[in-house]
């Protein structure tokens, strides 16, 4: 505390300390309070920041509510990974002829890589054994960095690389910075549900980034043998019902404006499920052993009634 009239002991404390881990290049805000127990106005006096090479520092005393003894310091984390120490030093300074001793507070932070993440879409399903098909893959940096020309790999369940792709130069529509590409693949020769993965590790970015991976599923089926044509009509009016979702196990389709959906499938027994808001369609068991046309009648059903929850 106070030593005598010519010297005041300054205090410094960190109010909002830096997080324990900060991604490379991220902005960190430190709030420190500097005060004199005798009430001297210290706000015009600069503070010194100790930071690693590569770190940018800006900031100074800022008013927070009615507190003008709080300094807000923004630090841009360096791109060198690992432990990092920040220090904030005040003084020594004379204020109105009174000496204020130097005080220092420090904080430790670990600089970590930025993250990346992936999306995989437009995966056709199912896929016939041995057939070629394409998927779309996108990658995103948590910093929003441009990932154009960065490469990614597709791995099979054994971890073998089965395809490679290079990200294009324009983000996917509707996204902020998802760089994407088409990847060509070939279905295995055996039927089954496969779980493959995409791996991405950017190499050419200024800031350190972690690698990312994600999985996606591919259902591989034997070649189709017959065509199933489904005609969906309303029971009472016999009017065709468009835009209904049709599923036979993993085989998807949707009805067109004539209420018709066509699916090429192998022989087999399938449960036909049809979904369309405003209609009830019972599940139908279909034995497919030849080309078939089946007509399904849907019953109009009232829309979802909020008070229907009251029904038993």
């Amino acid at each position: 505390m106070t030593s005598d009239d010519q010297s005041h002991a300054t205090t410094i404390e960190v109010i909002d300390s830096a997080p324990l881990e900060v991604p490379a290049g991220a902005t960190v805000t430190l709030k420190v309070r500097v005060s004199c127990p005798r009430g001297c106005d210290l706000t015009s006096i600069p503070i010194q920041i100790g930071a690693a090479a590569g770190a940018l520092v800006r900031g100074g005393f800022a008013t927070e509510g009615d507190r003008d003894d709080i300094a807000e310091v923004k630090l841009e984390a360096p791109d060198r990974l690992g432990e990092h120490r920040w220090s904030v030093t005040f003084g020594p300074y004379d204020v109105a002829g009174i000496r204020h001793d130097a005080v220092t507070v420090s904080a430790r932070t670990r600089i970590i890589p930025n993250t990346t993440s992936l999306a995989v879409w437009s995966i056709p399903s199912p896929v016939v054994t041995g057939a070629g098909f394409a998927i779309e893959v996108g990658a995103k940096s948590s910093t929003g960095a441009v990932l154009a020309a960065e490469r990614l790999e597709v791995h099979d369940e054994a971890g073998e690389v089965i395809a490679r792709g290079e990200l294009g130069g324009t983000p996917y529509r509707g996204t902020t910075a998802l760089y994407w590409t088409n990847v060509e693949l070939v279905a295995p020769a055996r039927e089954g549900l496969y779980s493959w993965s995409v791996a991405f590790e950017p190499k050419g970015l200024a800031l350190a980034h972690e690698r990312a991976s994600t999985t996606f599923s591919v259902l591989v089926v034997r070649p189709p043998e017959h065509r199933l044509i489904i005609k969906l009509i309303e029971k009472d009016t016999l009017a065709p019902i468009a835009d209904a979702q049709v599923r036979l196990g993993a085989y998807p389709a949707a009805t067109d404006s004539l209420g018709i959906a066509e699916i090429d499938m192998p022989k087999g027994v399938y449960d036909l499920n049809i979904s369309k808001a405003g209609y009830e369609v019972p599940t139908t068991r279909v034995r497919l052993d030849n080309n078939m046309l089946i007509e399904i009648k849907a019953l109009p059903a009232p829309g979802e009634d909020p008070d229907a929850a009251w029904l038993m």
Binding site: G138, Y172, S195, L219, S275, D307, W310, M312
Partner: protein
């Protein structure tokens, strides 16, 4: 004011006769004491008898006081064996309807009764809030109520009686947990931010000794005590209530929500980013799973927020515009370029810690595999139809929302409030959602027991 205007009255009134429906008071009673109906079996049969006997007179009362109904009956609903629900016409002055264009036809009942009451000389004191009921010492009669109003406080003397009709308790977290400790703060109340069902009447009456009654009704799991949030991405997305931008309430509600047509278009995840049930289901099994212990040792009750996760394809199928004013981006709606990025972005007062992007990605990948295979082996969602794969991705608030108050103060058949020792509290009456003993959804029990309580209060000698 925000009710759907469904009035479940029968007994053979004029509209039922016009529709060719045969009904009697005895049939109402038989229906609403059914042992095989969860909505009926816990009710107080003395009150059900009164309800049944008063149906036709209550319907006539509404018509005599200007309430208009559609001719078309709905039902049979709930425990009823014949159609009894008729819907009122919406109040005809759009500027005086708080949720216009949304089928909130109850305005046509409340406003008509208000209009009739004012014509009869009734004084309505708005912006007066009851703070307590004043009772004579030593279990004496009720003398009146204490209120606060913008310019101070006031005691109002009851010349004949006080009728508690404060609208239920589902907004009061502490009170509602009396009946179901799972209903912690993350569960919002339907009809907020317009009306707060704060148990004020119940608490004031209990302060002078009143008892609760038939509390099992609140958790009978047969009706709308808890409902799915059908308008996702806003804080108060009750199933059939939307505050559109032209509503006076919109500045408080902040978003209309995205109206869900098909629950296949999304998955629901809990505060850990994990699926917990078949999304198509709307039963109390869904709600039980949503409120299951989440593994957070600092929050043992309640299940935490529920988020709907969907993709750009779902937005196209549902024809949504995932922007304000449809969504509330201040804590109730998020978007991201990838699923892994989406989880950590979710920040909400009830979300205790961010959702791990890795966990959410794993959840979505697993679900997508179910869609590919054509079967959900985790929760048996019937034929899961759509993968969540096309960017951008979205998280919308979809936490179940609370609606009906189905229990409350104990009354006798005259509407007099009964104390915890079984004696009537002289001069204190109760009706509506703050009355216990009869668990029927909607306006009918409010109208019937409101008449009963008002009539008996008026008969008291001053």
């Amino acid at each position: 004011m925000l009710s759907g205007g469904r009035v479940h009255l029968g007994g053979g009134h004029a509209l039922q006769q016009k529709a060719g429906i045969k009904d009697t008071a005895d049939q109402i009673f038989k229906d609403w004491v059914r042992y095989d109906a969860a909505v009926a079996k816990y009710s107080d049969r003395d009150l059900v008898r009164v309800f049944a006997d008063e149906n036709v007179a209550s319907f006539d009362f509404l018509v005599e006081n200007g309430v208009e109904f559609r001719d078309r009956p709905i039902g049979p609903e709930a425990a009823s064996t014949v159609p009894r629900t008729f819907v009122t016409l919406e109040w005809h002055v759009p500027s005086e309807v708080y949720a216009p264009g949304g089928g909130r036809n109850g305005s046509g009942l409340v406003r008509r009764l208000e209009e009739s009451a004012r014509k009869k000389g009734v004084q309505i004191l708005l912006r007066h809030e009851m703070t307590s009921i004043i009772r004579e010492p030593d279990a004496g009669k009720v003398l009146g109520i204490a209120v606060t109003r913008p310019d101070g406080s006031l005691n109002i003397e009851a010349k004949r009686g006080v009728v508690i009709a404060t609208g239920g308790h589902t907004g009061n977290v502490n009170f509602r947990r009396t009946f179901d400790p799972r209903l912690t703060e993350e569960y919002q109340q339907a009809c907020m931010p317009y009306v707060y069902q704060g148990a004020k009447g119940e608490l004031a009456a209990m302060d002078i000794g009143a008892a609760l009654w038939a509390t099992a009704n609140q958790t009978n799991e047969s009706g709308s005590a808890i409902t799915k949030t059908r308008h996702i991405g806003c804080r108060w997305g009750y199933s059939s209530l939307v505050f559109r931008p032209e509503s006076k309430m919109f500045p408080l509600a902040k978003a209309t929500g995205l109206t869900v047509r098909d629950w296949q278009d999304m998955i629901f995840v809990n505060q850990n980013g994990q699926r917990f049930w078949n999304e198509v289901d709307g039963s109390y099994r869904f709600f039980a799973a949503a409120m299951a212990y989440s593994g957070d040792p600092s929050k043992l009750n309640g299940g935490g927020p529920i988020w709907a996760i969907f993709d750009a394809d779902a937005v196209a199928r549902e024809k949504w515009d995932p922007q304000p004013p449809h969504v509330d981006a201040d804590g109730y709606f998020y978007s991201a370029d990838t699923i892994a990025e989406l989880g950590p972005k979710i920040r909400n007062p009830y979300q205790k810690k961010p959702i791990s992007g890795e966990v959410l990605q794993e959840t979505v990948n697993r679900y997508n595999a179910f869609v590919t295979a054509g079967a959900d082996t985790d929760f048996k969602k019937p034929t899961p139809m759509f993968k969540i794969e096309k960017p951008p991705f979205y998280a919308a608030w979809a936490t179940p929302i609370l609606h009906d108050t189905l229990t409350g103060l104990r009354t006798n058949t005259h509407g007099e409030v009964i104390d915890i020792r079984g004696a009537a509290i002289p001069g204190l009456y109760c009706a509506g959602e703050c009355q216990g003993g009869f668990a029927q959804h909607g306006l009918a029990r409010c109208v019937v027991f409101g008449r009963v309580a008002g009539r008996n209060a008026a008969k008291r000698v001053a």
